[in-house]
């Protein structure tokens, strides 16, 4: 995957192709170096390659090119090793693309081919080929690629293209190439676009009117509040509202309809037609930021209800009726085609309020109301209601803050309620992926049931320091008692304090309970396995959540509906 033609031979020494870029980025540990390397690539690469490279680095992938099962089978045929041995290798390496690359080896005599050729002549045809054609096409592809091309190629093929380049840094690199604002680049490369059609010039070129196409803005993100709230100064300078437990989305409206974009840059409008139906009633050239929530007669419902709507395109009338949703709006980014993001928050908020006020009632679109308080202490007490309200805590937004791209410390804070915690014992472990390949870093965790037996309730793989990880890995290796596929059962001995956001009853789990976002809070070296929490405790947490769901008309001391 080298450059297709030579544009300017004199510039830089690293005038190489996409594979070389891949390996250089993989090697580099400093952000500045990586950005410079990307700039260098984009300046040298042929236009078509640069477009595709931008698209891939932005995290897009060509879907459904090949199934991993098929890939393992063909790799087995090609390498001569049985499929089970390839699986063993995968378990050790922790990355399928890398495993395949190490096993296939590549053709040392092959010539370099450009990225756009790889995409247009290999990947795209593969996506449309039938099974036997695919096997043959892949065999030919392996023959065409140099050893150095294999890993990037397999990354593109299996879709897991991640080499530690954040979208923000990609935008900085492209912005430098085109001498345009990174925010504009961010908008141009987000969403769904076809790098086969869009020229690189359109990505890095000067600002044009059509830049206001129907794409989401980069989301403004909040930092976790890690200090005492009164260190933020006068509460009057801040806006507080509930931190909703839904799907963060930008609702865009143009003449030809509405769109819903998630933070993952997915367009999810098709799953929520009742929201898109609002389009004719809203002004065009509009972008609002908010949250999709599951919302019934009784008010807000827990996140798990929303999952019944996710990933289900064009839901039928019965689902729409049973699992209604609502858009909770909290910010205004664009109005009548004019970018509002640099206005102070309170100004944007006022405009949002007056815009929504003109809507007729009964629409599944509403304003996220402020949580008003006279001082920080009182606000802190209100925050204690979060669990009962089914929200995650409070959002604090500085009243004069602009809508930044990404996380700008000091503007927006999330002040979440403390998570639930429980002590659990490690009863199983498996190798992690990527940086944690070949190290036992993914743990199966158990608590005690009424008979005093360990029962598995969660899996967790983050939260330990590198040194702790090493030590736990050492323990696991010495205490393996059995093997179940990639999972090793481990003699109970290590106790972790696990934090989680909630629990719910689950028929699918043997323990009868499913935890939300379990992660390791700390290693309880002082605790023995028989001192871990009980299943009864966890089931108690789950029932707590369900009680809230059943009698939705709970009120707080002041008589306000809690769930509204």
């Amino acid at each position: 995957m080298a450059r297709e033609s030579v544009r300017e031979k004199s510039r830089g020494e690293k005038m190489k192709g996409f594979s070389e870029l891949f390996y250089d980025l993989d090697k580099m540990t400093k952000t500045g170096e990586r950005i410079a390397r990307m700039v260098n690539y984009f300046e040298q690469a042929p236009e078509k390659d640069a477009s595709w490279a931008s698209w891939f680095l932005a995290g897009n992938r060509i879907k459904g090119v090949v199934k991993t099962g098929e890939l393992r089978e063909w790799a087995s045929q090609r390498s001569g090793w049985p499929v089970w041995l390839i699986d063993e290798c995968y378990e050790r390496v922790g990355d399928l693309a890398e495993t395949l690359s190490l096993l296939i080896g590549g053709n040392k005599k092959a010539e370099s081919i450009s990225l756009s050729k790889v995409v247009e002549e290999i990947l795209l045809p593969l996506a449309h080929a039938d099974r036997s054609e695919k096997a043959e096409a892949l065999r030919r592809a392996w023959h065409r690629l140099r050893p150095i091309d294999l890993l990037p190629f397999h990354k593109l093929l299996t879709g897991g293209f991640r080499i530690g380049v954040s979208r923000g840094n990609l935008c900085k690199a492209l912005a430098e190439v085109g001498q345009v604002d990174p925010a504009i680049i961010a908008q141009r490369i987000s969403g769904d676009w076809d790098p086969g059609i869009r020229k690189f010039e359109q990505i890095v070129g000067d600002e044009r009117p059509e830049d206001s196409w129907c794409r989401p803005f980069p989301f403004c993100l909040a930092s976790p509040l890690q200090e005492e709230p009164n260190s933020l100064g006068d509460l009057k300078d801040w806006w507080a509202e509930w931190k909703w437990d839904g799907i963060r989305c930008q609702f865009l409206n143009e003449e030809n309809g509405g769109m819903l974009w998630t933070r993952g840059d997915e367009s999810v409008g098709e799953s929520f037609p009742e929201l898109l139906n609002l389009s004719p009633h809203l002004p065009t050239g509009l972008a609002i930021d908010g949250e999709i929530l599951a919302w019934g007669q009784e008010g807000m419902r827990p996140f798990s209800r929303l999952q019944k709507r996710l990933g289900r395109k064009e839901p039928g009338p019965s689902v729409l009726k049973k699992e209604p949703v609502r858009f909770m709006a909290y910010d205004l980014l664009k109005m009548e085609g004019v970018d509002m993001r640099t206005l102070p928050f309170l100004d944007r908020r006022k405009r949002l309020e007056s815009m929504l006020a003109e809507l007729p009632g009964g629409f599944p679109l509403q304003l996220s109301m402020p949580v008003e308080s006279t001082d920080w202490e009182k606000l802190a007490r209100q925050r204690e209601e979060s669990r009962d309200r089914g929200v995650e805590g409070l959002m604090l937004k500085r009243a004069d803050s602009i809508y930044s791209s990404g996380r700008v410390k000091g503007d927006w804070y999330k002040w979440k309620v403390d998570p639930y915690v429980a002590d659990m014992v490690v009863v199983g472990a498996q190798f992690g992926h990527g940086k944690r390949a070949n190290i036992y870093s993914d743990y199966t965790l158990a608590v005690l049931d009424q008979q005093g037996e360990f029962v598995t309730v969660a899996k967790a793989y983050s939260g330990l320091s590198d040194a702790e990880l090493k030590e736990v890995d050492r323990y696991v290796r010495k205490n393996i008692t059995g093997k179940f596929g990639p999972v090793r059962s481990v003699r109970p001995g290590i106790v972790f304090e696990i934090a989680f956001e909630g629990a719910r009853s689950s028929g699918r789990h043997k323990s009868g309970v499913a935890l939300r976002f379990p992660r390791i809070q700390r290693w309880r070296q002082d605790k023995k396995p028989d001192e871990v929490d009980t299943l009864e405790n966890l089931l108690g947490y789950a029932q707590m959540g369900e009680r809230v769901r059943e009698d939705g008309t709970k009120t707080d001391d002041a008589g306000n509906l809690l769930l509204f």
Partner: protein, 329 residues
């Protein structure tokens, strides 16, 4: 049939000769394949090693131990066992130990590699009935390139660092790998330093004909490290010792570096795939070459290799619960 070697808690034992090979604990007679700490342990009554291993063993375990060196290929009789040492190509003085009792031959390989290595004796293939093989890198993802290519990669990286004005910090195990790495360095690029754990072994290597460029101790340096190459054992990776080499690019020479995750986990700038063990094809080639009817695997996560050999019709199994190995080389 009584086998020449059996497994005891201390390790492989030869009842006919009353000796152990690479034992744990305290035994009277220990035959030791090489001087790495997971094979040569302190506390035994008598040691027998290859001639070139002897000075390395004494450096590791102390000059006062009772130890004897035997020339490669020379057969000696211990009780009713005929014993000889043969080069294993792992590090200087590393041996496979051949044990013959009543016409039945076992070869215990210790750690070995058939690939050429200019810093130690070349591996010798020894025919046998039972071959005890290591299997540290017993998966086909492990494939080594010729050492010259790796030396070139290391020198090119060093050169890059010289041009960028930063030191090069290369981690390599202090016995064996460090010497192999030092031998391949191009001293025209810059000054070379090595951690104190590496130095004592250098004269032993030199006596055996391995030539090194000039290697200094850091305290002999000027304190200006830009452009220098510093070779150090991975044990000091996180220690204060490395702090003085400000802004150093950090590399690691090890077979484990074949997998990117292993490098990224250690937060290294570069990994050089240089191993003193057999790679997958090396293991298969040697196992086949010995003509052994029975293969016993130790030192590694050997289940996949055992299963693969079984599917190829070879009688192969794990020797005992010898545990997984990932760290030492």
């Amino acid at each position: 049939m009584d086998e020449p070697m059996i497994v005891r808690p201390e390790g492989l034992y030869c009842p006919a000769g009353g000796f152990f090979i690479d034992p744990r604990g305290r035994v009277d007679k220990a035959l030791v394949t090489h001087a790495h700490s997971d094979h040569a342990r302190p506390g035994h009554g008598n040691y027998l090693v290859s001639e070139s291993c002897l000075p390395l063993l004494k450096l590791r375990l102390g000059q006062e131990i009772r130890a004897e060196g035997i020339a490669y290929g020379k057969v000696c009789k211990i009780g009713d066992a005929h014993v000889s040492f043969h080069p294993a190509g792992h590090i200087l003085g590393s041996s496979q130990i051949r044990v013959e009792v009543g016409g039945r031959v076992w070869v215990v390989s210790g750690d070995y590699k058939p690939q050429p290595d200019q810093s130690c004796e070349a591996f010798e293939l020894v025919k046998c009935d039972v071959f005890v093989s290591e299997c540290t890198f017993g998966l086909p993802v492990y494939r080594w390139q010729e050492e010259e290519i790796i030396h070139q990669q290391i020198n090119a990286w060093w050169q890059e660092n010289v041009e960028a004005g930063r030191p090069s910090m290369l981690f390599a195990y202090s016995l064996g790998k460090a010497q192999r790495v030092l031998r391949g360095l191009d001293s025209s690029i810059g000054p070379i330093f090595a951690h104190g754990a590496v130095h004592p072994f250098l004269p032993v290597y030199e006596k055996c004909g391995v030539q090194f460029p000039r290697v200094q101790k850091p305290k002999e340096g000027s304190g200006e490290w830009a452009g220098s190459m510093i070779v150090a054992p991975p044990a000091v990776e996180d220690a204060g010792w490395t702090r003085r080499f400000k802004g150093a690019s950090r590399g690691f020479a090890s077979g484990w570096m074949a997998v990117r995750g292993a490098r990224r986990r250690r937060n290294l700038d570069r990994g050089f795939v240089l191993s003193d063990h057999a790679d997958w094809s090396g293991l298969l080639e040697v196992i086949k070459g010995t003509g052994a009817e029975c293969i016993k695997l130790i030192h590694g996560n050997g289940e996949p290799l055992a299963r693969y050999l079984q599917e190829c019709g070879v009688d192969a199994s794990m020797l005992d619960g010898s545990g997984e190995r990932t760290g030492e080389e």
